[in-house]
Amino acid sequence: MKKLEVDVHHLTRVEGHGNIKIRVADGVIEELKLEIVESPRFFESMLVGRYVDEVPHITSRICGICAVGHTTAACRAAEKALGFDPPPEVGALRRLLLDAEFIQSHILHGCFLALPDFFGVPSVLALAETMPDVVKTALRLKRLGNTICETLVGRHVHPVSMAVGGFTRWPSRDDFLHVKTMIEEAADDLEETVRLFEAIETPSFDSPAERIALRSEGERYELLEGVVTSSAGDSVAEDRFDRIIRETTLPHSTARHAHTERGSFAVGALSRYAVNHDRLLPEAALAAERLGLSPDTTNPFHNNEAQVVEAVQCAGEAVRLCDELAAARPPGRFKAVARRAGRGTAAVEVPRGTLYHGYELDGAGRIVGANCVIPTGQNQANIERDLHRLVGVLLERGEGDDAVRLGCEMLVRAYDPCISCSTHFLEVEFVD
Amino acid sequence: MREWVLSGDDLEGLIDSISAEWDLYAPQRKGRLFEFRRLRDFEDLCIEYPLTMIPPSSLFAPGSEVLYHFDPDRPAEIESVDPARPIALFGVHPCDLAGIAILDELHLSPPIDRCYANRRSGSFLVAVECAAPCVEESLCADKETYRARRTFDLLLIPSSGDRWFLRSGSEAGDDVARSCRFLRPATYEDRCRGDEESAARNARFKARFGLDAPTLSARVEASWDDLLWSAQSRLCLSCGACNAVCPTCHCYAVDDVLPVKRGESGERRRRRTGCQLADFAVVAGVENFRGEKAFRLRHRIFKKEVYLVERLGRSGCVGCGRCGHFCPAGIRLVEIFRQISGEEKVDA
């Protein structure tokens, strides 16, 4: 294999628009890049001057797939800026919603976007004909995630009642119990999904990485808040994340590359699993074992399995939260938090990794500066590094264009990149 | 007509015996509002409620309902909606009872409206007399709808000492009352006391304008070219809230829902709409016969006070006060009538 060119224009089955470009001459990789070509949307510019209450509704529109995540991060960052500490039920409901979003997003990714590769078909629509049961199971699970959000906050894509300060409508006790029943009824479907992924052979590939996720005190498999924790041993408070994570922009991408001082790193399901595996519920730990996951795995393709484990984890956690919330006294009628000047940064785990939002407000509660650091942007450098290694391995094996192309596409997809999000970087211009 | 005495503790018993045969809807809290909902827990009942936003008559004329099912490829109806399990409304105020009576006349005069008849026939109405006007906008004294005279199956009349008088207004009401062992037939003394209490209560309902229906109708009729309509509708948002909350508004549009799955049936649906919405009288997307807010407001008032008076012999407004109370722009019948009649008899 002397010369090889892979040019995947408009990478499919990922969220957003991305290209892969690889040029090999004489067995040497001359060019390799993951281009992110989404049209920039200038969120930071648009946010400046808006009142803080509007921010969650605006930043939710950064990405329809992780809308709950963006909304949660925006609410938490804004609350910090306003010096408001929401009551614990509010946190519990946010966790429950994140659980729902994880289930819906992981199933969407695992079964709709990634799975077709393993069966050599172009899409889940083709699977619908050959493996209708698998598709029906996946559809039901995806529906579950959506229905939970619909019941509790009106809808999943751009949740309605999540607001700075809490929820503009607090769900009824019946809502929580209804949601709980739905999740419990989904147990068989989850089991089916675990079994499905058990039967799939993960490509073997070795590429160790530094892994970063939120971890909190206590016993939770954390999604909502906590300390930014690296598998390399660093840890830092959420609003100080820029102490360990640095960003640079690259000419071929509207996204930014992030590094720690050791180089690229990875976030997402596999990283959370690596950092928090000791916190999994028994049923999720069992699923991890059955899927052959280990906390110190070096294979990025295992992200697919980690997502399945998290789906099980989130379902279990959600049931517990439903019980807790159904028993809790509902907070009083929603009141907007008083506007004032301040600055706040919050981190939230979203399906694809750690998401940071930060805002600075003036005395009238208007945005003067906004910042938003997105998981896919954090992963991009690591993806490119993994692509390098993978292409090297494949070239050594003497694979041709098509195999290299498919391998690269599958690898990028395994990271579940959300390119929609990643171009909507907001500027950190906090004047100290 | 028979009367009984019911102790406050036995209200639940009465509800239980009605619920044995009917799906019972009763006023309950919804946030800061009240609404008629299936009563699942006696504790949730708010029998002393001021006013529900959505009138109880909406259970017979809902905002949206299936008229019939069809096969999308054939024009004829394939299946009408199943007769609903009959419902009972518990705790209907007299003004809303009057509203139901008007909807009955409009829907059940030929050609009979099948869907309304389906919901209404076999229903059971328990009215409750009010102790005082519910809201500032109430006109029940002027409209003489603060007392229940007919249309109910049973009427609850509050009485001192945690007890109620229960009056039957139909055979069905008699049957239910007779099945309740805990009811005690009213004695002559009970009745005398009841009459005294009623007289005291009635005194709290004072007409503001003292205009009877024909006089008001004539005054409204004379106001056609008045500037009041454009002045009053200045801030109208054409939101239709006044129509949505009115117990006698009944206009509608028809929409179809086609099935997604091949071979399944579709639904022809009725959606209640209102004359204050800007699109109400548009034809073929261009000509709007009531293009101005002022014309629309005028039509609403004329419909109640002139056209329905011509048709039914009484006002189409039952004086519940909802349209004014729930209008975000603060457009109030009381104010309109004040201007039309030139005076207000009693201070609001």
Binding site: R13, I65, V124, L139 | C239, V260, R262, A278
Partner: protein, 268 residues
């Protein structure tokens, strides 16, 4: 579409959050039945491969770059019916918030260390300002049931009718308290119904993401809110979130930011 037994459908995406495409995939309960009646041949978010052979194009997102414009025109040439889905495609949605500000200036704020990409258009536009749009499914995001209503009517050979009544009508009939009575800003009177008033039913005010009805009572609402003591500027900002393409709102925005949002900054 009468006579087409199993029309081919393409789903396309321009500048937006992709939430509307996701709503198509979120038709979990109906997706398989729908696939009995249509063939989805182009759907980058969900499917590999693509073709120019489709009768119906569902297009999400606004047109914000020169390449967006070229691709949209190509889609228009290929499709017999072009359906705009979602606020971004319909009215620019909140992408329009960046209009009235120079693209170069906005760029320099977001990517201070990179040269301006000439592909980025000065103004974000809705589809209808670039090509003819046959129907629109409004909303941010689109309502799944409304999408189904539109698709089933088209499959039956009919023309979907846009809603002509306001969100307020749906909201009241759903039994909600009016947020205006609470002194909150709500645009339900401006926007066409069809979303089941989901926002107000969940305690949040309507942002008019579905666009404005013809003759929407903007001035009445402004007057009412101002009489309640709400700051005019805040109302205008809020109107501009989704409504920057409505003529009445554009005039108000011009009042707020004479000469554009960053006229002063640009001058200095």
């Amino acid at each position: 579409m009468a006579g087409i037994l199993k029309p081919k459908i393409g789903v396309f995406s321009f500048t937006g959050c992709e939430g509307c495409q996701l709503q198509v995939l979120n038709l979990e309960n109906e997706l398989l039945d729908l696939l009995e009646r249509v063939e989805i041949v182009n759907f980058r978010e969900a499917l590999t491969g693509g073709t120019n052979d489709y009768a119906v194009a569902l297009v999400e997102g606004s047109i914000s770059t020169a390449s967006d414009e070229r691709e949209l025109k190509e889609i228009r040439r290929n499709a017999r019916l072009l359906i705009a889905i979602g606020a971004c495609a319909h009215t620019t949605g909140l992408n329009g918030m960046r209009n009235g500000e120079s693209a170069k200036l906005a760029w320099s704020r977001v990517y201070p260390d990179r040269a301006f990409d000439a592909n980025v258009a000065e103004e974000v536009r809705p589809l209808c300002e670039v090509v003819d749009v046959d129907f629109t499914v409004p909303g941010c995001p689109i309502d799944r049931d409304e999408l189904l209503r539109v698709l089933t009517v088209i499959l039956a050979g009919g023309t979907p009718r846009p809603s002509t009544t306001p969100v307020c009508d749906e909201c009241r009939r759903a039994g909600n308290e009016c947020l205006l009575d609470d002194g909150r800003i709500c645009f339900g009177a401006l926007a066409p119904s069809g979303c089941r008033a989901v926002c107000t039913s969940y305690g949040e005010s309507c942002a008019a993401c579905r666009g404005h009805l013809p003759g929407a009572p903007v001035s009445e609402l402004m007057a009412l809110l101002e009489e309640k003591g709400i700051d005019r500027e805040e109302i205008i900002l809020r109107l501009g979130r989704f409504g920057s393409r409505e003529r009445a709102v554009a005039a108000l925005l011009e009042e707020l930011f004479p000469g554009g949002r960053n006229a002063q900054e640009a001058a200095s």
